[in-house]
Amino acid sequence: MSNARALTALTKTLKPLDGYALALGDDALISSHRLSEWLTYAPDLEEEVALANIALDQLGQARHLLGFAGRSSGLSEDELAYQRVDREYRNSLLAELPNGDFAHTILRLFFFSTYQRLLYAGLTASADGELAAFAAKAAVEVGYHHEYAVSWTLRLGDGTEESHDRAAAALAELWPYTAELFAVDEDVAALAAEGLVPDPESLAGPWSEQVGTVLAQATLGTAPSGTWRPSGGRAGLHTEALGYLLAEMQSVHRAHPGATW
């Protein structure tokens, strides 16, 4: 069956719009996976339910996007999720970093949902009708994720001394990874020129402004300085953390070649 397929070659030759959808789908899939790791560890029972809701929204988005990405090449969502190796994954590095403490998870979700809200809002204007319709639904979902993340960013930043310090540490650690969200490669530039996707660079300004306002209100000060801006996720160059995540995620699926579930 599909095991024999050289997926590397297939995903390398995906049409640009499919490759773009795959990258967004990978962002959603990996984020969902990280959030699902919180279950049974959340700081409050009510928070178990909330985090699972967001993880489920993201997983739903991932399935839609992977389905879209693989359709014209005849690849299913599960083939894409379970049979690609690390180097074929296109998610941003921010999505795959280990969870850390609750402050790390919240800050990441805050950065990410602020980005996704702008991205999906832009994508609703896509010349591709299916992507536009998907974006309209996803925009509503990430709107709520954003509200959730802002609410906790404020409470952690402006809560106790300990929560403030933890939030500040998370901010310092995660900030460098946010630049990658707005990087443009040749494919994306061409898609943006055709009106199929929003220009990532155009999202950077509004993102910085919105993030800055909340960080100030949360008494977390301004964005950290520094020139280290790791990237490479979109090209399959990941952190060491992704390998472990995928090894775990794919273990059962790969142990039973050709099986259906």
Partner: protein, 95 residues
Amino acid sequence: MTGDLYDLWEVFVRARRGLSHQHVGSLHAPDAEVALRRARDLYTRRGEGVSIWVVPSGAVSASDPGEKEPYFTPARDKDYRYPTYYELPKEVRGL
């Protein structure tokens, strides 16, 4: 009783437009904003509502169930409050 860090809130959900809000349960939250969000996550994850109210449990004043007699019995014997109390000519329509 060892107190909880967070207050208890009562949750009311309007299932759809045209219906009144109904009590569905309670939850713990540090403030109204979080209570509202948690109510959304907990009590409407299968699309059970279009609107939510949260009310601090402590703000609810309740009648004493032992007072059932004085509180609720007088309402029963005033049958002139019910439409079937009145005898009208059989031929009349639209009443």
